[in-house]
């Protein structure tokens, strides 16, 4: 009797050893190089729902699947979203565009098309906009969607000012539905980028949002918050795990070829890449640079390399009360710094070639808003040295660092956020500056510490980046004098009267060509004053299983974007 206790312990030990041994054979077939692909590929072609855990699993899931196999796109992402509530959910914006519609839509980067509004016109003074709303549309719950519902939604937005998109309607005075297909918007001031603003303003149904107070809206987390009129309906969401969408039969355009979308959350990008290789997901929203080589060699995986609205720059502290040395305010020093930075090396080392050298603040992906006349300052250390020499910065004590006429050495603080690639980029910048006699030892720090330096403008050089809007307004806003106040977005401390006047002017210029000219002038001014030395325009890199899906347009800049879903279709 008592012996059995001890025997049981030994038995468990043996069982444990067997368990360990059991995982060996499981792994073996994959460890041989050749068969790796075979199981992965079959898995991928098989129906989605039934990785058939067991026999028992089949009755529940397979029954509807057998009737009619829905085309399911499984998307791997590192974060689905924080809430189903669109009024404050900032993550995975692209996903929300599958649920809601807007009056105007961005089909691919910097390209607009009619959305819920078929067409529109603006009055002479730019104050009255009249939209023709499409006929016969409904929300996903079947309730009609006419100009009246659109007017209700816009008025609700103006009144409640939802964090994510309320501010876009700052100049909206009055919104009325003249009849079921005509919407009239009256503005307090002309708005230069009216169409762009409207691509952010989702039309939400009265049935869900009516009668809620600000606090109610802030706390609303029901899945019904996902109700809209977009091409997909929100079916299920489990925080930290997955989200399921189903195609909307009544969508005002053709019902998408992809019937079902399943987002699966992975904690790390590396795991996500493994899931793509195993065929557990069909597309992933980010590809870590370390995985690019692996995926490029995969037969069934296609890398989507796309333009983005991201920019990377070196910020030069330009605030008149900043703590930067006086020499850094000298245009000659700034020009010399521009000559000393090897952008191509940054692109090769940090982006593995997947970025373009940058010239001006507005990236090339923004189409004709990008000032293509500006010619970049070439990487030329000799030229940089000559400029500094001529401007009176000489290395008088032979320590390899130049001094200004007052004898202060050209020593600058060079900061960046602490990521692996940033550390490498700072090295490249620092090496370049050393070659023209400027000492700028690289320092990486945590993001909060970096942000804490901004209010007092207590830095010299910071390597930083922005994700910009498809409209150039924000790219220009970050150089405004007002934006230097607490809570503003000006991180360089740049302030220029002439520039600010142009900013105000472009904001009320409705004519595209006239506004473009202003935006070009502003970019040129920034290029000459150099609060930023622009470094790169990085690409967006995503990947999908080309053995299962095709048709994703890469011009959209995101294969997980509404218009990509509308065009994507299964292979065969």
């Amino acid at each position: 009797m008592r012996k059995t206790w001890f025997h049981a312990l030994l038995l468990v030990a043996v069982a444990g050893a067997l368990l360990l041994a059991a995982c060996g054979p499981t792994a073996e077939p994959t460890s041989a190089p050749a068969p790796t692909e075979a199981p992965a590929a079959t898995q991928a072609v098989e129906p989605t729902e039934a990785p058939a855990p067991t026999q028992a699993g089949e009755p529940t899931e397979a029954a509807p699947a057998e009737a009619e196999e829905p085309v399911t796109l499984r998307v791997g992402t590192t974060y689905i979203w924080d809430t189903a509530n669109p009024t404050f959910g900032w993550y995975n914006y692209a996903l929300r565009y599958l649920l809601y519609d807007t009056l105007v839509e961005e089909t691919k980067l910097a390209t607009l098309e009619p959305g819920l509004a078929e067409s529109w016109e603006v009055s002479e003074d730019g104050l009255v906009w009249t939209f023709k709303i499409r006929e016969g549309m409904t929300f996903n719950d079947g309730t009609p969607l006419t100009a009246e519902e659109v007017a209700w939604s816009l008025n609700w937005t103006i009144e409640n000012e939802p964090e994510t998109f309320g501010f876009y309607l700052a100049n909206f005075d009055e919104v009325v539905a003249l009849d079921p297909t005509t919407l009239q918007v009256t503005l307090s001031d002309p708005v230069g980028n009216m169409e762009y603003l409207l691509i952010y303003v989702w039309i939400l149904p009265q049935s869900v949002w009516e009668g809620m107070t600000y606090d109610d809206i802030m706390e609303f987390e029901d899945l019904s918050a996902g109700l809209g009129s977009g091409p997909y309906k929100l079916v299920d969401w489990v925080e930290g795990e997955y989200l399921i969408l189903e195609a909307n039969e009544d969508y005002f355009r053709d019902k998408p070829a992809i019937d079902r979308v399943v987002y699966q959350e992975y904690a790390t990008e590396d795991t996500m890449v493994q899931a793509l290789l195993a065929g557990e997901v069909d597309a992933i929203d980010t590809v870590p640079s370390t995985a690019i080589e692996t995926l490029r060699g995969e037969e069934n995986v296609e890398l989507a390399i796309m333009p983005s609205t991201t920019i990377d720059e070196l910020i030069i502290n330009s605030h008149e009360n900043g703590t930067q040395p006086a020499s850094l305010n000298d245009p000659a020093v700034r020009l010399a710094i521009a000559h000393a930075i090897d952008k191509q090396q940054i692109i090769n080392v940090a982006y593995l070639g997947y970025a373009d050298p940058a010239t001006v603040v507005v990236p090339t992906s923004l189409g004709d808003w990008h000032n293509s006349d500006v010619v970049d300052i070439p990487f030329n250390v000799e030229e940089g040295n000559t400029i500094l020499e001529d401007a009176g910065y000489v290395d008088s004590d032979d320590d390899g660092i130049r001094e200004d006429p007052d004898g202060n050495p050209l020593e600058y603080r060079l900061y960046a956020e602490d990521t692996a690639s940033n550390a490498r980029i700072l090295e490249i910048i620092s090496d370049g500056l050393a070659q023209i006699g400027i000492a700028a030892p690289p320092t990486v720090m945590d993001e909060d510490s970096l942000i804490a330096l901004y209010p007092d403008f207590d830095f010299d050089l910071i390597y930083w980046g922005w994700g910009l809007d498809p409209d150039p307004d924000f790219a220009m806003l970050i150089f405004g004098c007002d934006e230097r106040e607490e809570g503003g977005w000006n991180d360089s401390g740049y302030c220029d009267q002439e520039f600010d006047e142009m900013y105000v002017q472009q904001g009320i210029t409705v004519d595209h060509e006239a506004r473009r000219e202003l935006i070009w002038k502003m970019q040129e001014k920034l290029f000459e004053d150099r609060p930023y030395i622009m470094l790169t325009y990085p690409k967006t890199i995503q990947a999908y299983r080309s053995d299962r899906f095709t048709g994703f347009p890469v011009e959209a800049g995101d294969i997980l974007w509404k218009w990509a879903f509308l065009q994507g279709r299964p292979v065969e």
Binding site: R2, F6, A17, G57, Y214, I244, Q274
Partner: protein, 337 residues
């Protein structure tokens, strides 16, 4: 009576530690640089009024400790309407604040996650404990033999193995055979019964193997050294002299005494693993507490971090307390001085 006193003292100590943790937990997230509102607000163009509204929603418009101006004017109640008093008050009401990111109650978020971590940690730990004890006992019993050397080598190897590294290796090896991430196939619900649990079981295999391998080493080493120490004692010699079989010697005399350090180890491991599964959960995308913390750090969701830290501290303190109480029961030598 004596034991009652001992337990009371230990409980008092645990409560004092807990209070210290509560205060530290508050201070920690207030001394971090940067304005938390900046972390909540992502929008370039949000109006200052909207920013203020958010500030007041999260109680960040209040002073941290107290308002000196109001105190000077004699308004004591108003002066102490601070972030700290709100924090303590809410704690007593079981509220851990609202997430900066999802705006949900932190207590709700934690309770959703905690059982997922427990499922993982419990399975992994159980395997590690059983395996570790058995192997440790065998090694001590056969000390000096090749078997012992082999087990010892394995123990040191597995103990030294970085969790995330082992996890990724296993993941790459099992790719295509076992799911690489998540807890369940999307769409399956607990209502689906057996199907759901079998699917969860399949997702559990890789993370538990990883945990079991990493934790076994520690248990083997402690078990082995405990048993070996006991085996050198005089009473073992006496037992042998009495003519007891090796089995009975081990079972009745060696094991009982060697279990003492194991109890501490097991209790502590359970206490720590609530948060200690961070690496396993991150590699295998297991939606538990560890990954919640990892993501909260990335998103600077301070209320969620604060809540997780508190839960972690409480579980470690409780596990410690439990170990100490168990000790007093198991070992008659542990007595109040």
């Amino acid at each position: 009576m004596e034991r009652g006193n001992y337990i009371l003292r230990k409980v008092t100590f645990a409560v004092v530690t807990l209070i210290a943790v509560l205060i530290f937990n508050f201070v920690l997230f207030r001394i971090l640089p940067g304005d938390p509102v900046k972390l909540i607000i992502h929008s370039p163009r949000m109006t200052r009024e909207a920013q203020d509204r958010i500030r007041s929603t999260f109680g960040l418009d209040k002073p941290i400790w107290f308002d000196a101006d109001q105190l000077r004017q004699g308004d004591v109640v108003g002066a102490f309407d601070s972030q700290f008093t709100a924090y303590i008050r809410n704690l007593f009401q079981g509220e851990l604040g609202i997430s900066f990111v999802s705006r949900r109650d932190v207590a709700d978020i934690l309770s959703e996650r905690v059982w997922r971590t427990v499922v993982l940690v419990f399975t992994g730990d159980l395997i590690a404990i059983v395996l570790g004890m058995a192997l440790g006992l065998i090694a001590a019993w056969r000390r000096g033999t090749r078997l012992d050397a082999g087990i010892l080598l394995w123990a040191l190897f597995s103990w030294a193995l970085p969790t995330f590294f082992l996890g990724i290796i296993l993941l790459v090896l099992a790719r295509g055979h076992l799911p690489v991430g998540g807890m369940v196939t999307p769409g399956l619900k607990p209502e689906d019964g057996l199907t759901y649990w079998l699917d969860v079981g399949k997702h559990l295999i890789l993370p538990t193997i990883t945990m079991a391998i990493v934790y076994t080493g520690e248990y083997i080493l402690i078990m082995r050294s405990g048993v070996m120490e006991v085996l050198t004692q005089d009473y073992i010699l006496t037992a042998k002299a009495k003519g007891l079989s090796t089995y009975r010697t081990l079972r009745d005399h060696a094991l009982k005494n060697a279990m003492l350090p194991m109890v501490t180890m097991i209790a502590l491991t359970f206490g720590y693993t609530v948060g200690g599964a961070i690496q396993v959960e991150t590699v295998f995308s297991w939606p538990g507490l560890g990954r919640l913390m990892y993501e909260a750090v990335q998103k600077r969701d301070y209320p969620v971090l604060q809540g997780s830290f508190l839960l972690l501290a409480v579980s470690v303190i409780l596990a410690n307390l439990l170990a100490e109480i168990l000790y007093s029961v198991l070992d008659p030598r542990v007595k109040p001085d």
